[in-house]
Symmetry: C2
Subunit: 279 residues, 2 copies
Protein backbone atom coordinates (compact mmCIF):
# COMPACT_ATOMS: atom_id res chain seq x y z
CA UNK A 1 0.00 0.00 0.00
CA UNK A 2 1.25 3.49 -0.76
CA UNK A 3 1.84 6.01 2.02
CA UNK A 4 -1.06 8.16 0.82
CA UNK A 5 -3.40 5.18 0.93
CA UNK A 6 -2.31 4.28 4.44
CA UNK A 7 -2.81 7.87 5.55
CA UNK A 8 -6.25 8.02 3.97
CA UNK A 9 -7.22 4.82 5.78
CA UNK A 10 -5.89 6.13 9.10
CA UNK A 11 -7.84 9.33 8.66
CA UNK A 12 -11.10 7.50 7.92
CA UNK A 13 -13.80 7.78 10.58
CA UNK A 14 -14.94 5.19 13.09
CA UNK A 15 -18.57 4.15 12.76
CA UNK A 16 -20.51 3.90 16.01
CA UNK A 17 -24.14 2.86 16.30
CA UNK A 18 -26.86 2.35 18.85
CA UNK A 19 -30.62 1.95 18.95
CA UNK A 20 -30.87 5.61 19.94
CA UNK A 21 -29.08 8.03 22.21
CA UNK A 22 -27.56 5.60 24.73
CA UNK A 23 -24.51 4.88 22.57
CA UNK A 24 -23.40 8.46 23.10
CA UNK A 25 -21.97 7.36 26.46
CA UNK A 26 -19.59 5.22 24.40
CA UNK A 27 -18.89 8.04 21.93
CA UNK A 28 -18.01 10.25 24.89
CA UNK A 29 -15.34 7.75 25.99
CA UNK A 30 -13.92 7.41 22.47
CA UNK A 31 -13.69 11.21 22.20
CA UNK A 32 -11.81 11.33 25.52
CA UNK A 33 -9.44 8.44 24.94
CA UNK A 34 -8.62 8.78 21.24
CA UNK A 35 -9.34 12.41 20.43
CA UNK A 36 -7.76 12.33 16.97
CA UNK A 37 -10.33 9.93 15.58
CA UNK A 38 -13.26 11.08 13.47
CA UNK A 39 -16.62 9.53 14.33
CA UNK A 40 -19.76 8.83 12.32
CA UNK A 41 -22.58 8.04 14.75
CA UNK A 42 -25.94 6.50 13.87
CA UNK A 43 -28.84 6.31 16.34
CA UNK A 44 -31.87 4.27 15.21
CA UNK A 45 -34.38 6.59 16.82
CA UNK A 46 -37.16 5.56 14.42
CA UNK A 47 -37.10 1.99 15.75
CA UNK A 48 -35.78 2.48 19.28
CA UNK A 49 -35.76 0.62 21.68
CA UNK A 50 -34.06 -2.67 20.75
CA UNK A 51 -34.06 -4.11 24.27
CA UNK A 52 -37.36 -5.94 24.07
CA UNK A 53 -37.13 -6.97 20.42
CA UNK A 54 -36.04 -10.34 19.01
CA UNK A 55 -32.61 -11.49 17.89
CA UNK A 56 -33.84 -11.70 14.28
CA UNK A 57 -35.19 -8.17 14.23
CA UNK A 58 -32.20 -6.62 16.03
CA UNK A 59 -29.84 -8.43 13.65
CA UNK A 60 -31.74 -7.21 10.58
CA UNK A 61 -31.66 -3.65 11.89
CA UNK A 62 -27.95 -3.88 12.73
CA UNK A 63 -27.14 -5.15 9.23
CA UNK A 64 -28.91 -2.17 7.67
CA UNK A 65 -26.97 0.21 9.89
CA UNK A 66 -23.63 -1.45 9.11
CA UNK A 67 -24.43 -1.05 5.39
CA UNK A 68 -25.18 2.63 5.98
CA UNK A 69 -21.94 3.18 7.93
CA UNK A 70 -19.97 1.51 5.17
CA UNK A 71 -21.26 4.11 2.74
CA UNK A 72 -19.39 6.60 4.97
CA UNK A 73 -16.08 4.72 4.43
CA UNK A 74 -15.60 3.92 8.10
CA UNK A 75 -12.39 2.06 8.96
CA UNK A 76 -13.89 0.22 11.96
CA UNK A 77 -17.27 -0.15 13.64
CA UNK A 78 -18.28 -0.04 17.30
CA UNK A 79 -21.62 -1.59 18.23
CA UNK A 80 -22.38 0.76 21.11
CA UNK A 81 -25.57 -1.03 22.07
CA UNK A 82 -25.56 -3.98 24.41
CA UNK A 83 -28.60 -5.64 22.86
CA UNK A 84 -27.15 -5.41 19.34
CA UNK A 85 -23.75 -6.59 20.62
CA UNK A 86 -25.45 -9.56 22.26
CA UNK A 87 -27.67 -10.50 19.32
CA UNK A 88 -25.99 -9.39 16.09
CA UNK A 89 -22.23 -9.00 16.49
CA UNK A 90 -21.22 -12.62 15.92
CA UNK A 91 -23.08 -12.83 12.62
CA UNK A 92 -22.11 -9.43 11.27
CA UNK A 93 -18.43 -9.97 12.13
CA UNK A 94 -18.36 -12.78 9.56
CA UNK A 95 -19.97 -10.67 6.87
CA UNK A 96 -17.74 -7.60 6.73
CA UNK A 97 -14.03 -7.03 6.11
CA UNK A 98 -13.37 -4.18 8.53
CA UNK A 99 -12.86 -4.62 12.30
CA UNK A 100 -16.02 -4.49 14.42
CA UNK A 101 -16.27 -4.61 18.20
CA UNK A 102 -19.15 -4.55 20.65
CA UNK A 103 -19.48 -3.40 24.24
CA UNK A 104 -20.18 -6.79 25.83
CA UNK A 105 -16.80 -8.50 25.59
CA UNK A 106 -14.84 -5.51 26.96
CA UNK A 107 -17.34 -5.13 29.81
CA UNK A 108 -17.18 -8.84 30.64
CA UNK A 109 -13.38 -8.74 30.71
CA UNK A 110 -13.20 -5.92 33.24
CA UNK A 111 -15.83 -7.54 35.44
CA UNK A 112 -14.01 -10.89 35.41
CA UNK A 113 -10.82 -9.13 36.46
CA UNK A 114 -12.50 -6.90 39.05
CA UNK A 115 -14.45 -9.46 41.06
CA UNK A 116 -12.86 -10.79 44.24
CA UNK A 117 -15.59 -13.15 45.46
CA UNK A 118 -16.48 -14.37 41.94
CA UNK A 119 -20.07 -13.18 42.18
CA UNK A 120 -20.88 -10.82 39.32
CA UNK A 121 -24.18 -9.12 38.56
CA UNK A 122 -25.35 -7.91 35.17
CA UNK A 123 -28.20 -5.47 34.58
CA UNK A 124 -29.49 -4.84 31.07
CA UNK A 125 -32.44 -5.04 28.72
CA UNK A 126 -34.60 -8.16 28.43
CA UNK A 127 -32.73 -9.01 25.21
CA UNK A 128 -29.23 -8.71 26.64
CA UNK A 129 -30.14 -10.59 29.81
CA UNK A 130 -31.99 -13.30 27.90
CA UNK A 131 -29.00 -13.87 25.62
CA UNK A 132 -26.85 -14.78 28.63
CA UNK A 133 -23.87 -13.40 26.74
CA UNK A 134 -22.15 -11.60 29.61
CA UNK A 135 -22.12 -14.82 31.58
CA UNK A 136 -20.60 -16.73 28.64
CA UNK A 137 -17.76 -14.25 28.20
CA UNK A 138 -17.06 -13.87 31.92
CA UNK A 139 -16.82 -17.65 32.33
CA UNK A 140 -14.35 -17.88 29.45
CA UNK A 141 -12.01 -15.79 31.58
CA UNK A 142 -13.08 -16.93 35.04
CA UNK A 143 -14.78 -20.33 34.82
CA UNK A 144 -15.81 -20.41 38.48
CA UNK A 145 -17.60 -17.07 38.37
CA UNK A 146 -21.26 -16.98 39.36
CA UNK A 147 -23.07 -14.55 37.12
CA UNK A 148 -26.57 -13.32 37.95
CA UNK A 149 -28.43 -11.20 35.42
CA UNK A 150 -31.45 -9.01 35.92
CA UNK A 151 -33.49 -7.28 33.22
CA UNK A 152 -34.41 -3.69 34.14
CA UNK A 153 -36.87 -2.61 31.42
CA UNK A 154 -38.00 0.59 33.15
CA UNK A 155 -34.51 2.11 33.47
CA UNK A 156 -34.38 3.28 29.84
CA UNK A 157 -37.72 5.13 29.88
CA UNK A 158 -36.86 6.62 33.29
CA UNK A 159 -33.51 7.89 31.98
CA UNK A 160 -35.12 9.23 28.81
CA UNK A 161 -37.68 11.06 30.94
CA UNK A 162 -34.78 12.74 32.72
CA UNK A 163 -35.50 11.12 36.12
CA UNK A 164 -31.80 10.46 36.73
CA UNK A 165 -32.11 11.48 40.39
CA UNK A 166 -35.62 10.78 41.55
CA UNK A 167 -37.46 8.85 44.28
CA UNK A 168 -39.30 6.85 41.59
CA UNK A 169 -36.03 5.75 40.01
CA UNK A 170 -34.78 4.85 43.52
CA UNK A 171 -37.86 2.72 44.17
CA UNK A 172 -37.66 0.90 40.83
CA UNK A 173 -33.89 0.41 41.23
CA UNK A 174 -34.39 -1.07 44.68
CA UNK A 175 -36.85 -3.61 43.30
CA UNK A 176 -34.56 -4.60 40.44
CA UNK A 177 -31.37 -4.71 42.51
CA UNK A 178 -32.52 -6.34 45.75
CA UNK A 179 -31.98 -9.82 44.35
CA UNK A 180 -28.38 -8.94 43.40
CA UNK A 181 -27.74 -7.46 46.85
CA UNK A 182 -29.07 -10.62 48.51
CA UNK A 183 -26.73 -12.79 46.46
CA UNK A 184 -23.76 -10.74 47.63
CA UNK A 185 -22.27 -9.73 44.27
CA UNK A 186 -19.17 -7.54 44.49
CA UNK A 187 -19.15 -6.41 40.85
CA UNK A 188 -22.04 -5.10 38.76
CA UNK A 189 -21.95 -4.55 35.00
CA UNK A 190 -24.04 -1.64 33.74
CA UNK A 191 -25.05 -3.68 30.69
CA UNK A 192 -27.02 -1.03 28.83
CA UNK A 193 -25.64 2.22 27.50
CA UNK A 194 -28.30 4.27 29.29
CA UNK A 195 -27.34 3.02 32.72
CA UNK A 196 -24.16 5.05 33.29
CA UNK A 197 -26.50 8.03 33.46
CA UNK A 198 -28.10 6.63 36.64
CA UNK A 199 -24.81 5.33 37.97
CA UNK A 200 -25.04 7.33 41.20
CA UNK A 201 -28.48 5.88 42.02
CA UNK A 202 -27.36 2.34 41.29
CA UNK A 203 -24.11 2.86 43.22
CA UNK A 204 -25.87 4.23 46.30
CA UNK A 205 -28.28 1.28 46.40
CA UNK A 206 -25.61 -1.37 45.82
CA UNK A 207 -23.21 0.12 48.36
CA UNK A 208 -19.57 1.20 48.18
CA UNK A 209 -18.15 -2.33 48.28
CA UNK A 210 -19.69 -3.17 44.89
CA UNK A 211 -17.61 -2.20 41.85
CA UNK A 212 -19.71 -0.78 39.01
CA UNK A 213 -18.40 -1.64 35.56
CA UNK A 214 -19.20 0.72 32.69
CA UNK A 215 -18.32 -1.15 29.47
CA UNK A 216 -18.05 2.16 27.58
CA UNK A 217 -14.67 2.96 29.12
CA UNK A 218 -13.16 -0.43 28.36
CA UNK A 219 -14.67 -0.48 24.87
CA UNK A 220 -12.89 2.75 23.97
CA UNK A 221 -9.64 1.32 25.38
CA UNK A 222 -10.01 -1.87 23.32
CA UNK A 223 -10.85 0.16 20.26
CA UNK A 224 -7.62 2.09 20.67
CA UNK A 225 -5.60 -1.14 20.98
CA UNK A 226 -7.34 -2.63 17.97
CA UNK A 227 -6.64 0.42 15.81
CA UNK A 228 -2.96 0.39 16.82
CA UNK A 229 -2.65 -3.32 16.18
CA UNK A 230 -4.20 -3.00 12.71
CA UNK A 231 -2.20 0.12 11.82
CA UNK A 232 -5.41 2.15 11.69
CA UNK A 233 -4.75 4.48 14.61
CA UNK A 234 -4.72 8.13 13.61
CA UNK A 235 -1.69 9.80 15.24
CA UNK A 236 -2.50 13.34 14.16
CA UNK A 237 -5.57 15.52 14.76
CA UNK A 238 -7.85 16.10 11.75
CA UNK A 239 -7.18 19.33 9.88
CA UNK A 240 -9.03 22.40 11.02
CA UNK A 241 -12.34 22.72 9.24
CA UNK A 242 -12.78 18.97 8.93
CA UNK A 243 -16.17 17.64 9.96
CA UNK A 244 -14.81 15.56 12.82
CA UNK A 245 -18.00 14.25 14.38
CA UNK A 246 -21.02 13.44 12.26
CA UNK A 247 -24.37 12.38 13.68
CA UNK A 248 -27.18 10.59 11.87
CA UNK A 249 -30.51 9.34 13.17
CA UNK A 250 -33.56 7.69 11.63
CA UNK A 251 -36.00 10.08 13.32
CA UNK A 252 -36.32 13.17 15.51
CA UNK A 253 -33.03 14.98 14.89
CA UNK A 254 -33.93 17.89 17.20
CA UNK A 255 -34.86 15.70 20.11
CA UNK A 256 -31.67 13.69 19.58
CA UNK A 257 -29.48 16.77 19.58
CA UNK A 258 -31.06 18.08 22.75
CA UNK A 259 -30.35 14.81 24.57
CA UNK A 260 -26.93 14.44 22.95
CA UNK A 261 -25.84 17.83 24.17
CA UNK A 262 -26.73 16.84 27.73
CA UNK A 263 -24.30 13.90 27.46
CA UNK A 264 -21.51 15.21 25.23
CA UNK A 265 -19.88 18.52 25.92
CA UNK A 266 -18.56 19.14 22.40
CA UNK A 267 -21.70 20.90 21.23
CA UNK A 268 -23.39 18.84 18.55
CA UNK A 269 -24.45 21.37 15.99
CA UNK A 270 -26.20 19.28 13.40
CA UNK A 271 -27.77 15.86 13.01
CA UNK A 272 -29.06 14.46 9.75
CA UNK A 273 -32.04 12.16 9.27
CA UNK A 274 -31.79 9.16 6.96
CA UNK A 275 -34.31 6.45 6.08
CA UNK A 276 -32.51 3.41 7.44
CA UNK A 277 -35.02 0.99 5.89
CA UNK A 278 -33.51 1.78 2.51
CA UNK A 279 -30.14 0.25 3.41
CA UNK B 1 -73.29 -5.45 -7.81
CA UNK B 2 -74.48 -9.03 -7.66
CA UNK B 3 -75.79 -10.49 -4.38
CA UNK B 4 -72.79 -12.78 -4.07
CA UNK B 5 -70.41 -9.85 -4.46
CA UNK B 6 -72.28 -7.86 -1.81
CA UNK B 7 -72.18 -10.84 0.55
CA UNK B 8 -68.45 -11.38 -0.06
CA UNK B 9 -67.79 -7.74 0.75
CA UNK B 10 -69.91 -7.89 3.91
CA UNK B 11 -68.04 -10.97 5.03
CA UNK B 12 -64.62 -9.38 4.49
CA UNK B 13 -62.63 -8.62 7.63
CA UNK B 14 -62.01 -5.30 9.32
CA UNK B 15 -58.35 -4.28 9.48
CA UNK B 16 -57.19 -2.87 12.81
CA UNK B 17 -53.70 -1.63 13.55
CA UNK B 18 -51.62 -0.18 16.33
CA UNK B 19 -47.95 0.37 17.15
CA UNK B 20 -48.08 -2.73 19.34
CA UNK B 21 -50.46 -4.31 21.82
CA UNK B 22 -52.39 -1.24 22.94
CA UNK B 23 -54.84 -1.42 20.04
CA UNK B 24 -56.20 -4.63 21.48
CA UNK B 25 -58.31 -2.53 23.85
CA UNK B 26 -60.05 -1.31 20.69
CA UNK B 27 -60.28 -4.83 19.24
CA UNK B 28 -61.92 -5.94 22.49
CA UNK B 29 -64.65 -3.32 22.03
CA UNK B 30 -65.22 -4.25 18.39
CA UNK B 31 -65.54 -7.91 19.37
CA UNK B 32 -68.13 -7.00 22.01
CA UNK B 33 -70.21 -4.57 19.97
CA UNK B 34 -70.16 -6.17 16.51
CA UNK B 35 -69.41 -9.83 17.17
CA UNK B 36 -70.15 -11.00 13.62
CA UNK B 37 -67.23 -9.11 12.13
CA UNK B 38 -63.95 -10.77 11.25
CA UNK B 39 -60.82 -8.89 12.29
CA UNK B 40 -57.27 -8.78 10.93
CA UNK B 41 -55.05 -7.11 13.53
CA UNK B 42 -51.54 -5.81 12.97
CA UNK B 43 -49.26 -4.67 15.82
CA UNK B 44 -46.00 -3.02 14.80
CA UNK B 45 -44.00 -4.56 17.65
CA UNK B 46 -40.69 -4.28 15.74
CA UNK B 47 -40.93 -0.47 15.72
CA UNK B 48 -43.04 0.21 18.82
CA UNK B 49 -43.53 2.77 20.36
CA UNK B 50 -44.85 5.47 18.01
CA UNK B 51 -45.60 8.01 20.74
CA UNK B 52 -42.24 9.81 20.69
CA UNK B 53 -41.59 9.53 16.95
CA UNK B 54 -42.21 12.16 14.30
CA UNK B 55 -45.24 12.74 12.08
CA UNK B 56 -43.21 11.77 8.99
CA UNK B 57 -42.02 8.48 10.46
CA UNK B 58 -45.40 7.51 11.94
CA UNK B 59 -47.09 8.32 8.62
CA UNK B 60 -44.58 6.21 6.65
CA UNK B 61 -45.11 3.29 9.04
CA UNK B 62 -48.89 3.65 8.88
CA UNK B 63 -48.84 3.63 5.08
CA UNK B 64 -46.88 0.38 5.06
CA UNK B 65 -49.37 -1.20 7.45
CA UNK B 66 -52.36 -0.05 5.41
CA UNK B 67 -50.76 -1.64 2.34
CA UNK B 68 -50.30 -4.87 4.29
CA UNK B 69 -53.91 -4.86 5.52
CA UNK B 70 -55.15 -4.30 1.98
CA UNK B 71 -53.44 -7.54 0.93
CA UNK B 72 -55.87 -9.18 3.39
CA UNK B 73 -58.86 -7.72 1.51
CA UNK B 74 -60.16 -5.76 4.47
CA UNK B 75 -63.40 -3.84 3.90
CA UNK B 76 -62.55 -1.05 6.35
CA UNK B 77 -59.64 0.01 8.54
CA UNK B 78 -59.50 1.18 12.13
CA UNK B 79 -56.41 3.09 13.23
CA UNK B 80 -56.42 1.88 16.82
CA UNK B 81 -53.46 4.04 17.82
CA UNK B 82 -53.90 7.60 18.97
CA UNK B 83 -50.52 8.76 17.67
CA UNK B 84 -51.12 7.28 14.22
CA UNK B 85 -54.67 8.68 14.20
CA UNK B 86 -53.28 12.11 15.10
CA UNK B 87 -50.41 12.08 12.59
CA UNK B 88 -51.34 9.88 9.64
CA UNK B 89 -55.11 9.49 9.28
CA UNK B 90 -55.83 12.67 7.30
CA UNK B 91 -53.26 11.84 4.64
CA UNK B 92 -54.02 8.14 4.33
CA UNK B 93 -57.75 8.79 4.11
CA UNK B 94 -57.14 10.57 0.79
CA UNK B 95 -55.05 7.74 -0.61
CA UNK B 96 -57.30 4.70 -0.21
CA UNK B 97 -60.78 3.81 -1.41
CA UNK B 98 -62.09 1.92 1.61
CA UNK B 99 -63.43 3.57 4.76
CA UNK B 100 -60.86 4.30 7.46
CA UNK B 101 -61.47 5.70 10.95
CA UNK B 102 -59.23 6.58 13.87
CA UNK B 103 -59.79 6.74 17.60
CA UNK B 104 -59.33 10.49 18.07
CA UNK B 105 -62.48 11.89 16.50
CA UNK B 106 -64.83 9.45 18.31
CA UNK B 107 -63.06 10.17 21.61
CA UNK B 108 -63.26 13.93 21.08
CA UNK B 109 -66.99 13.70 20.29
CA UNK B 110 -67.86 11.88 23.52
CA UNK B 111 -65.74 14.27 25.58
CA UNK B 112 -67.37 17.33 24.01
CA UNK B 113 -70.81 15.89 24.83
CA UNK B 114 -69.85 14.74 28.32
CA UNK B 115 -68.30 17.90 29.74
CA UNK B 116 -70.54 20.16 31.83
CA UNK B 117 -68.08 22.89 32.78
CA UNK B 118 -66.36 22.91 29.36
CA UNK B 119 -62.94 22.02 30.81
CA UNK B 120 -61.60 18.87 29.18
CA UNK B 121 -58.29 17.15 29.82
CA UNK B 122 -56.41 14.90 27.41
CA UNK B 123 -53.61 12.54 28.34
CA UNK B 124 -51.57 10.81 25.65
CA UNK B 125 -48.15 10.33 24.12
CA UNK B 126 -45.86 13.25 23.29
CA UNK B 127 -46.91 12.86 19.63
CA UNK B 128 -50.65 12.93 20.25
CA UNK B 129 -50.42 15.81 22.71
CA UNK B 130 -48.06 17.78 20.46
CA UNK B 131 -50.43 17.43 17.50
CA UNK B 132 -53.18 19.23 19.46
CA UNK B 133 -55.69 17.17 17.52
CA UNK B 134 -58.11 16.37 20.35
CA UNK B 135 -58.46 20.07 21.05
CA UNK B 136 -59.16 20.81 17.39
CA UNK B 137 -61.93 18.20 17.16
CA UNK B 138 -63.47 19.08 20.51
CA UNK B 139 -63.67 22.76 19.57
CA UNK B 140 -65.38 21.90 16.28
CA UNK B 141 -68.26 20.56 18.39
CA UNK B 142 -67.97 22.85 21.41
CA UNK B 143 -66.12 26.04 20.46
CA UNK B 144 -65.97 27.38 24.03
CA UNK B 145 -64.32 24.28 25.45
CA UNK B 146 -61.00 24.70 27.23
CA UNK B 147 -58.83 21.71 26.41
CA UNK B 148 -55.65 21.00 28.40
CA UNK B 149 -53.36 18.22 27.22
CA UNK B 150 -50.61 16.45 29.12
CA UNK B 151 -48.08 13.99 27.71
CA UNK B 152 -47.54 10.97 29.98
CA UNK B 153 -44.56 9.13 28.42
CA UNK B 154 -44.00 6.74 31.35
CA UNK B 155 -47.51 5.30 31.35
CA UNK B 156 -46.87 2.96 28.39
CA UNK B 157 -43.69 1.37 29.84
CA UNK B 158 -45.37 1.07 33.25
CA UNK B 159 -48.38 -0.69 31.71
CA UNK B 160 -46.14 -2.96 29.64
CA UNK B 161 -44.21 -3.86 32.80
CA UNK B 162 -47.51 -4.95 34.33
CA UNK B 163 -47.54 -2.25 37.03
CA UNK B 164 -51.24 -1.58 36.51
CA UNK B 165 -51.83 -1.29 40.27
CA UNK B 166 -48.66 -0.10 41.90
CA UNK B 167 -47.42 2.72 44.16
CA UNK B 168 -44.93 3.77 41.46
CA UNK B 169 -47.71 4.14 38.89
CA UNK B 170 -49.69 6.10 41.50
CA UNK B 171 -46.76 8.46 42.09
CA UNK B 172 -46.12 9.04 38.38
CA UNK B 173 -49.84 9.47 37.71
CA UNK B 174 -50.10 12.06 40.48
CA UNK B 175 -47.28 14.09 38.91
CA UNK B 176 -48.82 13.96 35.45
CA UNK B 177 -52.39 14.62 36.56
CA UNK B 178 -51.95 17.29 39.26
CA UNK B 179 -52.03 20.08 36.67
CA UNK B 180 -55.32 18.77 35.27
CA UNK B 181 -56.81 18.51 38.77
CA UNK B 182 -55.77 22.11 39.54
CA UNK B 183 -57.48 23.36 36.37
CA UNK B 184 -60.72 21.70 37.46
CA UNK B 185 -61.44 19.57 34.40
CA UNK B 186 -64.60 17.46 34.63
CA UNK B 187 -63.80 15.17 31.66
CA UNK B 188 -60.57 13.35 30.87
CA UNK B 189 -59.82 11.56 27.60
CA UNK B 190 -57.61 8.48 27.91
CA UNK B 191 -55.86 9.41 24.67
CA UNK B 192 -53.61 6.37 24.31
CA UNK B 193 -54.78 2.80 23.90
CA UNK B 194 -52.68 1.59 26.84
CA UNK B 195 -54.36 3.89 29.33
CA UNK B 196 -57.66 2.04 29.78
CA UNK B 197 -55.54 -0.62 31.49
CA UNK B 198 -54.68 1.85 34.29
CA UNK B 199 -58.13 3.39 34.31
CA UNK B 200 -58.72 2.60 37.97
CA UNK B 201 -55.50 4.38 39.04
CA UNK B 202 -56.30 7.43 36.92
CA UNK B 203 -59.92 7.43 38.09
CA UNK B 204 -58.96 7.26 41.76
CA UNK B 205 -56.53 10.18 41.43
CA UNK B 206 -58.87 12.37 39.38
CA UNK B 207 -61.85 11.69 41.66
CA UNK B 208 -65.40 10.49 41.02
CA UNK B 209 -66.66 13.77 39.61
CA UNK B 210 -64.35 13.50 36.58
CA UNK B 211 -65.71 11.48 33.65
CA UNK B 212 -63.08 9.28 32.03
CA UNK B 213 -63.53 8.86 28.27
CA UNK B 214 -62.19 5.71 26.64
CA UNK B 215 -62.20 6.34 22.87
CA UNK B 216 -62.18 2.58 22.21
CA UNK B 217 -65.84 2.20 23.10
CA UNK B 218 -66.99 5.07 20.93
CA UNK B 219 -64.74 4.01 18.06
CA UNK B 220 -66.39 0.58 17.93
CA UNK B 221 -69.80 2.28 17.99
CA UNK B 222 -68.86 4.61 15.12
CA UNK B 223 -67.40 1.70 13.19
CA UNK B 224 -70.73 -0.13 13.47
CA UNK B 225 -72.63 2.93 12.21
CA UNK B 226 -70.18 3.39 9.36
CA UNK B 227 -70.49 -0.24 8.26
CA UNK B 228 -74.29 -0.03 8.32
CA UNK B 229 -74.33 3.24 6.41
CA UNK B 230 -72.04 1.83 3.69
CA UNK B 231 -73.89 -1.50 3.48
CA UNK B 232 -70.82 -3.32 4.79
CA UNK B 233 -72.23 -4.55 8.10
CA UNK B 234 -72.16 -8.32 8.42
CA UNK B 235 -75.54 -9.46 9.78
CA UNK B 236 -74.64 -13.13 10.20
CA UNK B 237 -71.88 -14.84 12.19
CA UNK B 238 -68.99 -16.29 10.16
CA UNK B 239 -69.34 -20.00 9.37
CA UNK B 240 -67.94 -22.44 11.89
CA UNK B 241 -64.32 -23.19 11.12
CA UNK B 242 -63.68 -19.73 9.69
CA UNK B 243 -60.56 -18.01 10.95
CA UNK B 244 -62.47 -15.16 12.56
CA UNK B 245 -59.68 -13.27 14.25
CA UNK B 246 -56.22 -13.09 12.73
CA UNK B 247 -53.24 -11.47 14.44
CA UNK B 248 -50.03 -10.28 12.81
CA UNK B 249 -47.04 -8.53 14.34
CA UNK B 250 -43.66 -7.38 13.08
CA UNK B 251 -41.76 -8.96 15.99
CA UNK B 252 -42.09 -11.11 19.11
CA UNK B 253 -45.20 -13.16 18.41
CA UNK B 254 -45.00 -15.08 21.70
CA UNK B 255 -44.66 -11.99 23.85
CA UNK B 256 -47.54 -10.41 21.93
CA UNK B 257 -49.81 -13.41 22.47
CA UNK B 258 -49.07 -13.49 26.17
CA UNK B 259 -50.01 -9.84 26.55
CA UNK B 260 -52.96 -10.16 24.18
CA UNK B 261 -54.45 -13.00 26.18
CA UNK B 262 -54.35 -10.83 29.30
CA UNK B 263 -56.53 -8.26 27.51
CA UNK B 264 -58.80 -10.34 25.28
CA UNK B 265 -60.66 -13.30 26.66
CA UNK B 266 -61.17 -15.12 23.38
CA UNK B 267 -57.93 -17.06 23.61
CA UNK B 268 -55.57 -15.95 20.85
CA UNK B 269 -54.06 -19.16 19.61
CA UNK B 270 -51.68 -17.97 16.93
CA UNK B 271 -49.92 -14.83 15.79
CA UNK B 272 -47.88 -14.56 12.62
CA UNK B 273 -44.78 -12.44 12.10
CA UNK B 274 -44.36 -10.40 8.92
CA UNK B 275 -41.62 -8.05 7.77
CA UNK B 276 -43.55 -4.80 7.56
CA UNK B 277 -40.65 -2.95 5.93
CA UNK B 278 -41.38 -4.90 2.75
CA UNK B 279 -44.80 -3.29 2.28
Amino acid sequence: MKTEEINALREAPIGVFDSGVGGLTVVREIMRQIPNEKIVYFGDTARVPYGNKSKETVTRYSRQIVRFLQTKQVKAIVVACNTASAFALDEIEKEIDIPIIGVVRPGAKVAAEATRNGRVGVIGTAGTVGSNIYSTYIKQIKPNAEVTSKACPLFVPLVEEGLWQDPVTDEIAMRYLSELIDIGIDTLILGCTHYPLIRSTVGRIMGEHVTLVNPAYETARELKELLMEKGLFNPIPPQLGTNKYQFFVSDGADRFMQFANSIIKYGILSTKIINIEEF
